[in-house]
C-alpha cells in the first residue's frame, strides 16, 4: 500500500488510522528527519563550540536511524545497512574526540569557546 501524495483527497480516515497504528519505514524516516532538523537548527543558532558538537552528534544519529530502518524494512538480503551505521558510529566517535581536543586547545590558547570570536581567518 502506498500513500499517494499526488491525490491527497483520496486518503480516507481509515488510511490515516492504519498509518498511525502500523509502524513502518515512513515513521522512522519522519522521526530521523525531525531529529536532523532539530540538530540543524541548533547547529545554526548555537554560539559555543561544544553545543555545536552536540548538534552534529544529533544529526549523525538521525542518519544512523535511517540506515538501520532501511536495513530492517526494505527487502535486502544482508546486514550492509547496519554495518554502514557501525562504521558511521566509529567515524563519529573519532570526530567527537578530535572536536573535544580542538575545543580544549582553542579554549586554552584564546580563552573563549564562542564560535563568533574565532574569526582570525576573516579578511
Amino acid at each position: 500500500m502506498t500513500l499517494d501524495i499526488l491525490h491527497p483527497f483520496s486518503i480516507t480516515f481509515m488510511d490515516m488510522m492504519n498509518f498511525a497504528t502500523h509502524i513502518g519505514l515512513a515513521h522512522f524516516l519522519l522521526l530521523s528527519a525531525v531529529l536532523f532538523a532539530i540538530g540543524l537548527f541548533g547547529l545554526l543558532t548555537k554560539r559555543g563550540i561544544i553545543p555545536v558538537l552536540m548538534c552534529i552528534e544529533l544529526m549523525l544519529n538521525a542518519v544512523n536511524i535511517n540506515l538501520v530502518a532501511f536495513n530492517h524494512y526494505m527487502p535486502v538480503d544482508d546486514y550492509s545497512g547496519e554495518l554502514m551505521a557501525i562504521f558511521a558510529v566509529a567515524v563519529a566517535a573519532c570526530e567527537v574526540a578530535i572536536g573535544v581536543a580542538l575545543a580544549f586547545r582553542i579554549y586554552r590558547d584564546r580563552g573563549t569557546v564562542n564560535v563568533d570570536d574565532l574569526n582570525s581567518l576573516k579578511g
Binding site: 502500523h22 509502524i23 519505514l25 553545543p51 535486502v76 546486514y79 566517535a93 581536543a101 586547545r105 579554549y107
Partner: protein, 194 residues
C-alpha cells in the same frame, strides 16, 4: 479447583482473542514506538533549548538512549548495544569532560543562542528541510513488514570480515590516528621532542 482454573483459562483466552481481534498487538507496538520517539525528540529539543550546557549534555544522553531503544525496536539489538556503549557511554563522558575543561564563570547561561533573526532563519531552514523530508517519506513505499535476515551479529561479522574487511581495517587505523591526534592536540608538543 480444576473448574476454577479452567474458568480462568476460558476468561483469559476470551480476553486475549478479543484484544487480538481489535488489533491490540499493533496498538501496543505503535504505543511503544511513539513513547520512544517522544523521548528522543523531546530530549533533542531540550539539547537545543536548555540554557545550561550541562543540562544540554544530559538531554543529549537521554536522546542517545532513546535512539538506542529504537534500534532495539527494529530488532537491531547489536546496534542498540553499540549505541548505548559508544554514544551513551563514551561520547557523553567526552562531552561532559569538554564542558568541565572549558567551564565559564556562570554555568547558568553557558549555552547562549544567536539573536531572534538568526533563530528565525534557522527555524525556516529546519522547517523547509523537515517538509521536504516529510513529502519524501510519505512517497516512500509504506512498508511495515520486517525482513527476516537471521542472526544479526553473525551476519554483521560475516560481512565485516569478508566483503568489508578493507573499511574495517581503515576504521581501525582511523581510530588510532584520532587517538594520537587528540592527545597531541590537547597536550601539545614541546620543542625538544620534535
Amino acid at each position: 479447583m480444576t473448574d476454577v482454573l479452567s474458568f480462568i483459562h476460558f476468561i483469559v483466552n476470551g480476553v486475549m482473542d478479543f484484544l487480538v481481534s481489535i488489533g491490540a498487538p499493533d496498538l501496543i507496538m505503535a504505543g511503544i514506538f511513539y513513547l520512544m520517539a517522544a523521548v528522543t525528540v523531546l530530549s533533542a529539543l531540550g539539547v537545543v533549548l536548555m540554557r545550561n550546557v550541562v543540562h544540554s549534555a544530559l538531554m543529549l544522553t537521554a536522546s542517545f538512549i532513546g535512539v538506542g531503544c529504537l534500534y532495539i525496536y527494529m530488532n537491531a539489538s547489536f546496534m542498540g548495544a553499540v549505541q548505548f556503549l559508544v554514544y551513551g557511554g563514551a561520547v557523553a563522558v567526552l562531552i561532559v569532560m569538554a564542558i568541565m575543561l572549558t567551564r565559564r564563570p556562570d554555568m547558568a547561561h553557558s549555552n547562549p543562542s544567536r539573536g531572534a533573526l538568526h533563530q528565525l532563519g534557522a527555524a525556516i531552514v529546519a522547517a523547509v528541510f523537515c517538509l521536504v523530508m516529510l513529502i519524501v517519506s510519505m512517497a516512500s513505499p509504506f512498508r511495515t513488514e520486517a525482513s527476516h535476515l537471521g542472526d544479526e551479529v553473525k551476519g554483521i561479522a560475516d560481512l565485516m570480515l569478508t566483503e568489508y574487511v578493507l573499511p574495517f581495517e581503515v576504521a581501525a587505523v582511523l581510530l588510532l590516528i584520532a587517538m594520537i591526534g587528540a592527545i597531541i592536540l590537547a597536550k601539545g608538543v614541546s620543542e625538544n621532542d620534535a
